[in-house]
Symmetry: C2
Subunit: 450 residues, 2 copies
């Protein structure tokens, strides 16, 4: 899990996103401004009031990282420099259907770019490239980044007679749920908004259009029903086209070994999907969802979009932004299922130094110190136990390498290095120990990557 | 802050401690088992009940990392291998004196070793070496790791007639507060436990003894009042003596440059202080506190000790352990005050690539891609603005390096690299750009250390 977080963090940083961490707790009024259901919010109270006032009134755990971002940008907008890029990797809490003793905590990994008044579509085009590189580095297998623009949906809804904001929001929601509820229920729900069955079926057929990006864009461009729709298509086309250049092509030796253009992989991964709407009200343009080919049924592992107004609930300024959020918990569980990731290792250290003879304790400490100074995490077996017990411990904990030494060996400057995977042993002079251990360490032990 | 956390994490891992992360929320009954005041605990409730049951009943935010460790070890003791070493770096929450809209969140960095039934004193001797190396690497200046053993205090209290556990706990608490409340109040409070003024003053003089470790141990050994006291002195002596060998001496070229023995620095830092008691009830042997010489008045930045029973509140097993906790928030504020640490940088990227001519946008993206592929975090200025505006942005955000290129330069394969600190510019062929940027990057930009 730490490796996955590190990959995401480094990818975010490679594009210049700044780390931001905010407290777990926000004011209830700020959390509710976004329109989340109250039952999903965990509020705080002190177990006993103590000094009269309970001091926790009006406070609750954040349920996403967007509200803290909005509050932060609103509070600091005079000191910040725009476009402001931040990333945030922290837990969020949501009250899901209650079960005895259960609570719900997730880790989200968000990036957003906030503009002061305006923000170029080029930033919408950067997001898929960032996600693509993060997921490629994690090694999650094939995935698709689905992209759409809510102006296309909005234009379409207007063209069939939906005018009220409330109805358009409801229609967006129905599109978002279509996969879950099915076509029949979708038609019925659209009917409740006043659309005839024929119109509803026509809309659903539109959302369900298949094809590559080029042919879909061509079809969309042919008969735009209104200006909003046309604007959405133009934006979608601009973002899709500008995006590919943000992915670095492999170069040099690497390109000779891997007979595959990274940009071609990206082009195949970035798919226009007219059925993507995102449930949340505040998206206004580009929207994204990312599905894993290995298990599309778990839903989107990375979603986001463009919004026109992050801050007006806090200050008298409308700041547009675009962002995406990787749902780490969902991603990790999928990586574990696919065996891309092993469950937490039982040891972080590569080496266990045993103490065979208690008179050599200090010499063994020196051996461990030497390995640590060479950058190799090393555990010293500090209990006074038989060597067999120490080796059993090393085996159960999964240490790949054990250092063993009798008093005679140590005093003549040698130790025995045991490869626990193959059971082989070799005698090594202490000054050569670190390099011998490096040679034996299996790939993937984390210290090797630092 | 991230650098400090990374140093602590790597030092912990170098000794073989495993990372553990637990949810922010624990059951109230588990939290209160440790005897913390209820008003310090933040409990959860859902803002509206929703499905009838509120689902958050009996849940609260953790106030330390020891309760989650105890619960974890109790739940998993059949799968764990002992001695079990874990580290945990996560926030905790405590309800301090209430003020409007205020809440208290701290980050703690804990290590503990848990034994199954027994645990060697060698682990008590490892803790100061781990703390020492972490603080030396952070570069916090001089500090002292004060060490004591509660059996000495307990033996002493018994010898002056305090028998009841409650009275001994109260006396420990008075010792712990002595620095804050002063000698007069100390004498008075000890008097309330039934001690004569002469006895109380004698005790306080004992706690206040000065001297190097050797002479203090000698004095303590001379007339032990009882077996408990004697056991405490023997343990303290064993731990102090065994500790130094866990610190690696500098070797090779490094030792020639730095004319100072690391072990001598450690010996001077590890100080027996008979006035250290730690407030918490569960410590039973070794106790530690760490003070910074630059600002001892902020109190301990790293405390801990030995406890005989981590788990019996959860399961029918007594598991002893020893651990320490670095209070990161307090440490960071001190590092900032001492200018050891600069406040969060305004940029994580070393380079801003400007776009001077919008027809060269894709070429500029390639330049940015190339830098990122070389491991250099790079921000691309994606808004369409005048070069002067882009340079002002780079200056305000603190980018050390800006890449500038006209269409002509780019098409002939060159860019201009501008050192923002000195204002110098140089023309560089694009294949040499990454190495030119590396040469210009000031030390301390984090990507340089990865």
């Amino acid at each position: 899990m730490r490796r996955v977080v590190d990959v995401i963090r480094r990818t975010y940083e490679s594009f210049g996103f700044l780390p931001l961490e905010t407290p777990a707790v926000e004011r209830v009024e700020h959390l509710l401004a976004k329109g989340i259901a109250e039952k999903e919010v965990y509020a705080l109270r002190r177990l006993s009031a103590g000094d009269g006032d309970d001091g926790a009134k009006d406070l609750a755990l954040r349920f996403d990282l967007t509200v803290p971002l909005a509050r932060y940008v609103a509070q600091h907008h005079r000191e910040l420099h725009f476009p402001f890029r931040r990333y945030q990797i922290q837990p969020v809490w949501r009250g899901e259907r209650p079960q005895a003793g259960r609570y719900r905590q997730f880790i989200q990994c968000d990036i957003d770019v906030i503009g002061d008044g305006a923000l170029s579509l080029e930033f919408d085009a950067e997001m898929p490239a960032v996600v693509f590189q993060a997921f490629r580095r994690i090694g999650i297998g094939d995935f698709s980044i689905r992209i759409n623009n809510r102006k296309i949906l909005g234009g379409l809804f207007k063209s069939v007679g939906l005018e009220a904001d409330r109805d358009i929001r409801a229609a967006m929601s129905i599109v978002d749920d279509l996969e879950k509820i099915g076509i029949a229920a979708g038609v019925q729900k659209l009917g409740e908004l006043g659309l005839s069955t024929a119109r509803a079926e026509g809309l659903i057929a539109f959302f369900d259009q298949k094809g590559d990006n080029e042919s879909l864009l061509k079809a969309l461009g042919e008969r735009p029903p209104n200006a909003l729709f046309e604007e959405g298509v133009a934006e979608l086309e601009a973002v899709v086209n500008a995006s590919v250049m943000n992915v670095p092509e492999r170069t040099g030796a690497e390109a000779l070994i891997v007979y595959q253009s990274e940009r071609d992989v990206f082009r195949r991964s970035l798919k226009i999907d007219l059925g993507i709407a995102r449930g949340l009200d505040y998206y206004t343009g580009t929207v994204y969802e990312t599905r894993l080919d290995s298990n599309a049924s778990i839903g989107s592992v990375c979603s986001g979009g463009r919004y026109e107004d992050l801050t007006s609930a806090f200050i008298d300024a409308r700041m547009p932004g675009v962002g995406i959020s990787i749902g780490l918990s969902r991603l990790i569980s999928e990586l574990l299922r696919e065996d891309v990731l092993k469950a937490e290792r039982r040891t972080i250290a590569a080496v266990l130094v045993t103490i065979q003879d208690q008179t050599t304790r200090d010499l063994c400490k020196e051996v461990a110190n030497g390995l640590r100074s060479a950058g190799i995490p090393t555990e010293l077996y500090l209990e006074t136990k038989k060597l067999a017990t120490q080796l059993r411990y090393a085996d159960r904990r999964g240490f790949p390498i054990v250092v063993i030494a009798s008093a005679d060996e140590l005093r003549s400057g040698f130790v025995v290095v045991r490869n626990m995977v193959y059971g082989q042993e070799q005698k090594v002079a202490i000054p050569q120990l670190a390099s011998a251990v490096r040679a034996l360490t299996p790939p993937g032990m984390e210290w090797n990557q630092n």
